[in-house]
Amino acid sequence: MQKFEYASPTTIQQAVALLGNQWGEAEVLAGGTDLLALMKDYVVSPKRLVNIKDIKELKGITMTASGLRLGALVTFEEILDNAQIKRNYPAIWQAVSGVTSPQIRNMGTAGGDLCQRPRCWYYRAGYGLLAKDEKGNALVPNGDNRYHAIFGNEGDAKFVNPSSLAPALISLMAKIKVAGPKGSREIAADKFFVAPKSDTEREYALAPNEIVTDILIPSASGVKSATYEVRQREVLDWPLATASVALKLDGKTVKSAKITLGHVSPVPVDSEAAAQALVGKTINEETAEAAGAAAVANAKALSRNGYKIQLAKVAVKRAILQAAG
């Protein structure tokens, strides 16, 4: 990796002041499970690393009647060890349990999960976020795209969002609290991710000098939630498709639903169609299947990832059935 300056601030204000106005100048170091590998592979080469692990305000899990707050530095292991999260926010707990590496669970943070970079193998091999060769030819459409997007792949970005938490957070209508030089703001989880149009843009709605500070999830009282990941292996493996659902029921009838797909698109897909297919229905194999079919009705396969459409459909169906218990 290239040489860099290392800063270890103890307050949010110091941290954001150390970040530049341009992407790539500085990078935020939390668990480092993604960033350090990116630096070793020269995919990112910041001049400065801002270590935020010494900022106490970014730590801790708090649960109140109004909801759950996860500090950006909360590790996946802390979430897994929290019985209240497991009970009240199963979609979050199940998403985290899909990360089956103890090392990643111990080091990886909630904020880092949201800000990690795509796993697209062209990006990781140095062909840029939009995966183009020296002549500017797009590599994904004619290349090996077995793990790429089946939604939102019309533009240049064809990678899939790698976040484990994102689908659950969007379904639970969480807000991402971020801090910059001018103070804090809250971004709805479904607005946090963006599909970049150039290699110099990022996949999230942060400014270069902003950091994620908190994840705020409203009370899930009366909400049944679940996350289902389709993963090939039990050992650490990226999901091929993920679905998170949050349901409110009136007796046995679905009053409202929020269904989000992960690992299928440059940004998580909030499927209104799947939710609508479920509202007013009783949950059973058939209605869950119909919601799955509705979720993927507009999916569009690339040359060799058609199978992911089926997997996304199954993920939605199984997440719904899992949530309904």
Partner: protein, 726 residues
Amino acid sequence: MAEYKWPEAEKRKYIGKRISRVDGPLKVSGKAKYAYDINRPGMLHGKILHSPYANAKIVSIDTSAAEKMPGVRVVKLVQGPGTTVQWAGDEIAIAVAADEQTATDAIRAIKVEYERLPHVVNDEKLEAVPAANKRTTQEFVQGEPDKAFAEADVTVEGYYGNAIITHCCLESHGQVVEWTDANNVLIHPSTQAVSSISNDLAKALEIPAGNVELKMDFIGGGFGSKFQIDRWGTECGKVSKMAEGKPIKIMLERDAELTIAGSRPSIYAKVKVGAKKDGTLVAWQSEGWGTGGVAGMGAPPLPYMLRTASGIPNIKANFSSVSTNTAPSRAWRAPIHPQVAVITMGALEDLAAALKMDPIEFLKKNINLFAPRAEIYSQELDKAMELSNWKANWRPRGAGAPGSTKTVKRGLGVSMHTWGGGGHASNCDVTIHPDGSVDLKSGTQDLGVGTITVLNIVVAETMGLPMEAVKIFIGSNRYPASGSSGGSTTIGGISGSSRRGAVDALNQLFAKVAPTLGVKPEELEAVDGKIRVIASPSKSMTWKEACAKLGSQPITVRGVNRAGDRELSSSGVGGVQIADVSVDTETGIVKMNNFYAVQDCGLVMDLKTAESQVFGAMIMGVTYSLYEERIMDNNTGRVLNPNMEFYKLAGAMDIGNMKVHMMTGKGYDERGPVGLGEPPTNSPGAAISNAVANAIGVRVPTVPLTPDKVLAALAGKKGGQSNAKI
């Protein structure tokens, strides 16, 4: 007088018993040192610049910026302008510096101008490969295949194949090399060939072979990829010389390891097989192809095990070699066997299904075609059926074994395999010291197969001593030469040399002490730490007392096993494996439930390490059957997954339950030890692929059996498509 032949079962104290690996504690505690762990005083680090292109002519190279960097000691070209590199990852230049990062910065500062040429990196779609990259390497005919197919009652056609996988050694390739003076070199490599690669290094460095000393205590995996000194090894010696002989460490980075340091050839084939109504196999036809890189590949033996005079009577087997711009393949744990097993045993299972026969019944019906091991396979099939409770669990194809649900289908599949594994040439020196201590020195290596443990067992068994009374020294080319560890030849080879050396040394000791005991040397035996008279066991002396008779001079005897020697070991084994899987038909994900291996390796030297070796092979087998694949990119010509993230290996929770049964006793023990490294790696692909076909009712043509392929096969089944046409 002690004899060479192996002791009878009732007399064996260690041979065939369940003995823990003697170097286990060193390995689990991290005390075992590998090449990667070697850090010599004043050591420098070398990094390799690899070609980013799969086919390109080097136009120019500018190393000036790298050379000027502070801390950079050497910048050396490996391939100069005018050279054409034929695969991505090929070595272009090496930079040496005091630390790894500076060496890395230096290679990144080297400017290379390439003239890019068209590349071919994938071969499964044969029709997409240019004619210039294809050549016929085999047109085999036996009997009258056309006539036999015309007369067959049932024929099936299918497409089967294997993606390319890599060796993926946990410890990457590399070494530390230094010039200890102007004429002498010391190398710490990671190698499967302790007694031979030093000679290759000496040749490259133009010094006498004896001037290279090689030391390697442990190796972190080889699987057939570490027989050569390799260009990074010879270049390491050259740059060390350029750096005043300083020790230089060059270990491949993980991406280079997965790109250039070894791969297993692909093999694909369209197959037709025919049988009589009663299941008698009568005809085989295959059109195969595959690649081992730029040089293409030879002609694999299809059908596996059955292309003999006593095998399938009518065979037509053609093969096309495909040349691709990918790094050359290397021997991969049972070269070619796992691939041809997938093709052959897959086609036979499909034929059995078409005949509505239990595949084990089908194999037994044709067991004589598997001569000369028909009897062994029969016994092993019975044992495997018993272990897997086959009769209770197996169901006809697509019916779903017990435990199947609407979406998750369980299935069982079987495969058989063979391998040679005769002992290699091996030498060792066995020394009995006057103080009673015993040691053995041999220029062999322990790839994890248990070489050290088996040497220890043989000497202790022969001399009637406890295991810990014997010290084993291996891993140096200054010890008597022993063969490289490949082709399952090590245990056969080192067992023979150590047995002979130990017997001869013991007989010399008997000669020394016989007068004291008042008998002839041939009337003595060594048992339980004593030398005693066979006819009158109370007449004895302790081992220590006996050795004291040596005076000041130890006994050192050379034990020899010649290649092809079949007095103490033999060649040729059979094995049977049964896989029990569950397939999620909605996601295409395959999970292992149970996996059973029944294996023959002649005389088992150590039951525990033998079983371990079979477990290792089965785990490797699950991995290549379900996950592993070197993914090449047509656009860039590069490997897309040269990392442990997308080059997928099985984890502990992915392998299911495994059971190993080693065949022993009459018919096995008298053949002496036969190598075991390769054989159990041959069947997993076929057994697991057959289990999946049994579960879901349709063949998934190629391994790895990934969700996309399983779903495609299921979709094809619904559409009524056939697997392939020949």
